[in-house]
C-alpha cells in the first residue's frame, strides 16, 4: 500500500485540471467509507479522464472508490485501501433520450430526481423508487442495486438496464449490451456491475428502457392483528388475476414509521399492514378496489383503507425511504436486506423476531412480498453494539437453514460492527471462487474498491 505523493497530485491535476483535485477536510470526510477516508477527491469530466486516472492509480498502486451522491457509501465491508475518491458528479448528462423508443442513455453522476423529472415531462419514468432519493445518483443506484418497491411490477435494474459503458480496473474503456430493448450480442458483462459496489469497473454510461406512467394509481391498505393473516391476504392476491404495482407487508413497528398523518388514523398500533398499489386505466383501478375489498373481507382484515392523491404520494415516499426513516429513528440500527421466497416470509420474520429478543434488541420488518425483506435491528440499550454483534451471525445462520433458503446482506450498520467481511456478507459461499475470477478479469490489481465486496474482494 502506498500513499499518493506530491508528484501524484501534480500528475492528477494535469489530467483533470487543478480545481478538480480536492483535498479539503469536508470533501474528504463526505466520502468516508466505513471509517476509511481517501487522501484526495478527483472530479473527472469524462470516461477518457477516468481511464487515465485508473491507469495512473494502477501504476502507482493507489486504490479508487467511485462516488456519486454519497448516500450509500456505507454499504459493504470497509475497504482495505482507499486513496482516491472518484467523484462522478461532473458526468451528469442525459446523453440520449428517445421517448418514442422508450430508451435512454445517462451518465452515472446524474441524480435520479433530475432524470425522473425529465422523463415525467414525457409521462414516462424509471421504476427506481430508491431510498435517499434526494441525492442518489444513477451510478450509485446501479452499483448498490438499490431496492425499489416497484420491483414487484417492473423488475430490478438487471431487468431494464440495456447496456453500460465503463472503465475497468486496468483503465480500459469497455462496454457491453447496447441501446435496444432486446439484445443477445456478446456477454452481458454489465449485469455483473449491478450491485458490485464499484469493485469491478467505474460506470460511465447506463442505458435503460423507460416505462409509460400509468393513468391512475391508488393504494389499498388491509390491516391484520397477525402476520400470517397479512401474508395470507397477499398470497390470495398473488393467486388472483390482479397484477399490482407493489405489494408490501409492514410489521407494527415499520407501520409506525410509514403511516403518518390523519389519513392513516384507522390503522391501529399493533397491526400488520398489507399495502397494495393498483395502477392502470381508471376502470382497472376500480376493479382492484372491488376485488381487494372482497379479499380483505374474506381474510377478516381489521381495516381496509383506500389511499389516494396526496396521502398516497406521501405514503409511497415513506415506503421508498424506509431505510432512511429507520436510521433517522435509530442511528445505531443494523438493517438487513434479505431475499426470501414469498411463502417463507412469515416464518423468517418470526425467526428474526426471536433472534432480536434473545439479543435484547427489537426488529422492524418491511417485506416486498415478491422476495425482498428489510429487517431493522435496534438494540434495546441504544448504545449497545454488543447485542447487534451477537444477533448478526444468527441472522445469517437462520437464512442458511434449508427450509428458509434465504439470502442476506447487512446493508447498513454502525461501522464498529464491521470487523470482517462475513459480518456484512455472511459466510463465504461455494460460488465465491467464481466471483473472484470475475474480479480478476475486470480488475486484476485490485485498484477498485478493494475489500468492499463479499469475501474481501
Amino acid at each position: 500500500m502506498s500513499q499518493p505523493t506530491q508528484a501524484s497530485f501534480t500528475r492528477l491535476e494535469e489530467m483533470v485540471g487543478g480545481s478538480y483535485v480536492v483535498s479539503d477536510a469536508a470533501e474528504i470526510a463526505a466520502r468516508e467509507v466505513c471509517g476509511v477516508r481517501p487522501t484526495v477527491v478527483i472530479r473527472p469530466a469524462d470516461a477518457a479522464q477516468i481511464a487515465e486516472i485508473v491507469q495512473f492509480a494502477a501504476t502507482e498502486k493507489l486504490a479508487i472508490i467511485p462516488t456519486g451522491g454519497c448516500t450509500k457509501l456505507g454499504i459493504g465491508s470497509p475497504p482495505s485501501r482507499y486513496d482516491i475518491a472518484l467523484d462522478l458528479s461532473r458526468l451528469n448528462h442525459l446523453l440520449a433520450y428517445d421517448p418514442k423508443d422508450l430508451t435512454l442513455g445517462v451518465e452515472p453522476g446524474m441524480r435520479i430526481e433530475d432524470l425522473l423529472r425529465t422523463l415525467g415531462e414525457q409521462k414516462q419514468f424509471l421504476p427506481l423508487a430508491v431510498p435517499l432519493s434526494e441525492r442518489a445518483t444513477i451510478g450509485g443506484i446501479v452499483a448498490t442495486n438499490s431496492s425499489s418497491p416497484l420491483r414487484h411490477a417492473y423488475g430490478a435494474v438487471r431487468d431494464f438496464c440495456l447496456g453500460m459503458e465503463f472503465v475497468t480496473g486496468e483503465g480500459a474503456q469497455a462496454k457491453s449490451g447496447g441501446r435496444v430493448v432486446k439484445n443477445v450480442t456478446g456477454y452481458d458483462l454489465h449485469k455483473l456491475l449491478i450491485g458490485s459496489l464499484g469493485t469491478l469497473a467505474v460506470i460511465t454510461r447506463v442505458n435503460f428502457r423507460t416505462f409509460p406512467m400509468p393513468q391512475a394509481q391508488k393504494t389499498f391498505i388491509a390491516s391484520f392483528s397477525l402476520a400470517e393473516a397479512a401474508f395470507d391476504f397477499c398470497r390470495s392476491v398473488a393467486h388472483s388475476v390482479l397484477t399490482p404495482q407493489l405489494v408490501e407487508v409492514a410489521d407494527p413497528s415499520a407501520g409506525q414509521l410509514i403511516f403518518s398523518g390523519e389519513a392513516f388514523a384507522r390503522i391501529l398500533p399493533g397491526q400488520w399492514s398489507a399495502v397494495i398499489t393498483a395502477a392502470g386505466q381508471p376502470a382497472v383501478v376500480d376493479r382492484y378496489a372491488k376485488e381487494l375489498g372482497h379479499m380483505a373481507a374474506a381474510a377478516s382484515a381489521a381495516e381496509f383503507l383506500p389511499v389516494e392523491d396526496e396521502a398516497h404520494v406521501a405514503m409511497f415516499e415513506r415506503i421508498q425511504e424506509f431505510p432512511r426513516l429507520a436510521l433517522e429513528a435509530a442511528p445505531g440500527a443494523a438493517i438487513f436486506r434479505l431475499s426470501a421466497l414469498p411463502n417463507a416470509m412469515p416464518s423468517l420474520i418470526a425467526k428474526l423476531t426471536a433472534i432480536a429478543k434473545q439479543n435484547h434488541a427489537d426488529v422492524a420488518t418491511l417485506a416486498r412480498v415478491s422476495g425482498i425483506l428489510y429487517a431493522v435491528f435496534v438494540a434495546e440499550n441504544a448504545g449497545s453494539v454488543a447485542s447487534l454483534a451477537a444477533a448478526i451471525p444468527e441472522v445469517f445462520r437462520v437464512c442458511s437453514q434449508p427450509e428458509m433458503q434465504a439470502s442476506a446482506m447487512l446493508e447498513w450498520c454502525p461501522k464498529e460492527l464491521k470487523t470482517a467481511p462475513e459480518v456484512v456478507w455472511g459466510p463465504t459461499r461455494p460460488d465465491f471462487e467464481l466471483m473472484r475470477r470475475v474480479k480478476n478479469s475486470f480488475d486484476p490489481q485490485s485498484v477498485l474498491a478493494p475489500g468492499r465486496f463479499a469475501g474481501g474482494i
Binding site: T103, K175, N183, V184, K191, L200, G280, A340, R437
Partner: protein, 477 residues
C-alpha cells in the same frame, strides 16, 4: 478420436449413452442453421455427476466439448466446430420441482420449453419465454442463448426468468449460483451465464420463474395496403405507451406463403399484417384493444379484426410460428437474420431492406417481432446458384450494417454463435472484446468448452456465415 477416450466414456456412462459411428454422428453435424461441424462422439449424460465425469475426461484428452439441447438454435451454438464431444441433454429432461406457491420450477436442461408450460397449466401458470421452436427447444438451450419469443415484449427474455443455475465448470466441479430467490448477495453470475452460449460452463439444472396466466387475452389482426402504414402503426403504438404482450409483423410476401401452408385466414392481397396481442384484466384488455384499433385505423389499416375464439387465435399464432417452415415450401434455402433496431427506426429500415432486395435481385421476406424492433428478414436463395449466393452474403451484410448504423445490435435472440462471431468487431472495440475474452478465459481457460463461438477468431473479420444446408433451413422455426 482416441478409441481409448470412447472406451472411457462408455465405462463412465454405459455403452448406450455413447454414439460414435459415422451414421450416428451425421445426425449431430448441424443445428437450426449455419454450417456443419463433425463431432467425434455424442454422449447422453443423466446427471450433473455424469457431466462432470465427461468434462474431466475431455480435459485429460484435451478434447473440445459442446453442449446441445434440441439443436434448434439459429447461430450454430450447438455445432461441434472443432470436433470433440457433443453432450446431448435429452436424457436430463425431468422437471424436478414445481413450486406453485412461490412461482418457481426447478428443471433439468433437457426439459422442452413447452412441456414446462404444459406441466404448470393446471395451476394457471406458464413459463414466459416462448421461442417459435418452443415445441422442440430445451430450457437448457434457452438459458445458453438467452432466448426470446413473441411474448417477450411484455414478459422479457430468458434472463429475466432465471433465478438459479447449477453449473459444471470446465474442471468438472459442480457449483450452484443463485437459487430460488430473486437475488443473492454477490455478483449477478446468473446474469453473466444466461446467454453465454455454452462458452463459460455447462448448465445441469435451472430454477426458473413461473408467471400467472392473465385473465383475458385478445388477439388482433390489422391488415395494411402499404408497409409504411404498418411500421408507422408500430411506432405509434409504442409512442402512445400502449404495451401489448406481443406485436408481430408479417409482410405480404411472407403471409401469402404462410396462408397457402397454414390457412390461418391472412388476406393474401395485402402489403402486411400486424398480429397484436393484449393481455391482462379484462377491463385493461378491452381498453388497450380499442386504443390499438384506433391507432391502426389512423394509419389506414384496411381491416382490424379480433380473433373470436381460441381456435381462431391459435390459428393466427400458428401462422406466425410456422412461417419459417412455410418459406421452405417456396424456396430451396433461406437465410434468416436477427438484427435489432430502435423501434422508431422501423419504417426507414423496412424501406432500406426493400431497396437492398431490389439492388441484389433477391426475394426478402419480413416476419418479425415488431414491438421490440427485432427483425427477421428472410433472404431466399438456391444454394446451387453460386452467383446468387454471393449476392445473399452481400445483402445480408448490408442489412446488418444498416441495423448497426441506426443504433441497433447484431442479434436480438438467435445468438452470435459461429454465424456472427466475426462480426463482433462491428459493435465492439478491441478493448470490449479483450474483456469478454478474459471473462471467458476465467471460466474456460483451455477453451475446450464450445470453442470458436461468440468471440471472433480473427480469421475472417467481418464475414457473415450463411447456411448452405437445406436440412438446416427445415429445422429453423
Amino acid at each position: 478420436m482416441q478409441p481409448q477416450l470412447i472406451r472411457e466414456l462408455e465405462a463412465l456412462l454405459g455403452p448406450k449413452a455413447v454414439l460414435s459411428s459415422a451414421e450416428d454422428l451425421m445426425l449431430y453435424e448441424y443445428d437450426g442453421s449455419v454450417d456443419l461441424g463433425s463431432p467425434r462422439c455424442i454422449v447422453f449424460p443423466e446427471s450433473a455427476r455424469d457431466v462432470s465425469g465427461i468434462v474431466k475426461l475431455a480435459n485429460r484428452y484435451e478434447t473440445p466439448i459442446v453442449g446441445r439441447g434440441a439443436g434448434t438454435g439459429l447461430s450454430g451454438g450447438a455445432i461441434a466446430r472443432s470436433g470433440g464431444i457433443v453432450i446431448v441433454f435429452s436424457r436430463m429432461n425431468r422437471i424436478l420441482e414445481i413450486d406453485g406457491a412461490n412461482l418457481r420450477a426447478v428443471v433439468q436442461p433437457g426439459v422442452v420449453n413447452l412441456d414446462l408450460s404444459r406441466a404448470v397449466e393446471h395451476l394457471g401458470l406458464f413459463f414466459a419465454p416462448d421461442p417459435s421452436s418452443q415445441k422442440a427447444c430445451t430450457i437448457g438451450g434457452n438459458v445458453s442463448e438467452n432466448s426470446g419469443g413473441p411474448h417477450t415484449l411484455a414478459y422479457g427474455v430468458t434472463t429475466n426468468h432465471v433465478t438459479g443455475i447449477e453449473l459444471v465448470l470446465t474442471d468438472g466441479e459442480i457449483v450452484r449460483i443463485g437459487g430460488k430467490n430473486i437475488e443473492t448477495a454477490g455478483y449477478d453470475l446468473d446474469g453473466l451465464l444466461v446467454g453465454s452460449e455454452g462458452t463459460l460452463a455447462l448448465v445441469t439444472e435451472i430454477t426458473v420463474r413461473l408467471m400467472r396466466k392473465p385473465e383475458a387475452v385478445k388477439t388482433l389482426l390489422a391488415v395494411y395496403d402499404t408497409l409504411d402504414d404498418t411500421t408507422e402503426s408500430v411506432v405509434d403504438i409504442t409512442v402512445r405507451a400502449i404495451t401489448p404482450a406481443a406485436c408481430e409483423m408479417l409482410d405480404g410476401f411472407t403471409l401469402r406463403a404462410v396462408e397457402d401452408y397454414v390457412h390461418a385466414g391472412f388476406p393474401k392481397d395485402c402489403a402486411a399484417v400486424l398480429l397484436i396481442e393484449v393481455e391482462g384484466l379484462k377491463e385493461a384488455v378491452e381498453a388497450q384493444a380499442a386504443e390499438i384499433t384506433e391507432v391502426c385505423r389512423e394509419h389506414r389499416a384496411r381491416e382490424v379484426r379480433a380473433a373470436r375464439t381460441d381456435q381462431e387465435r391459435n390459428l393466427l399464432w400458428r401462422g406466425r410460428k410456422e412461417a419459417f417452415g412455410a418459406m421452405g415450401r417456396i424456396s430451396p434455402m433461406y437465410y434468416v437474420q436477427d438484427g435489432v433496431i430502435p423501434r422508431t427506426r422501423l419504417p426507414e429500415t423496412l424501406r432500406r431492406i426493400e431497396e437492398i432486395s431490389k439492388k441484389y435481385d433477391l426475394q426478402i421476406g419480413n416476419i418479425f417481432h415488431a414491438g421490440d424492433g427485432n427483425l427477421h428478414p428472410l433472404i431466399l436463395f438456391d444454394e446451387r446458384d453460386t452467383a446468387q449466393f454471393a449476392r445473399v452474403v452481400a445483402a445480408g451484410g448490408e442489412i446488418m450494417r444498416h441495423c448497426i448504423e441506426v443504433g441497433g445490435a447484431l442479434t436480438g435472440e438467435h445468438g452470435i454463435g459461429m454465424e456472427k462471431n466475426e462480426l463482433m468487431p462491428l459493435i465492439f472495440t478491441p478493448d470490449d472484446l479483450a474483456l469478454m475474452e478474459r471473462v471467458r478465459t476465467a471460466f474456460n481457460p483451455a477453451s475446450l468448452l464450445n470453442p470458436g463461438k461468440v468471440l471472433p477468431m480473427g480469421k475472417a473479420c467481418g464475414e457473415i456465415r450463411v447456411p448452405r444446408s437445406p436440412a438446416a433451413a427445415a429445422m429453423a422455426t
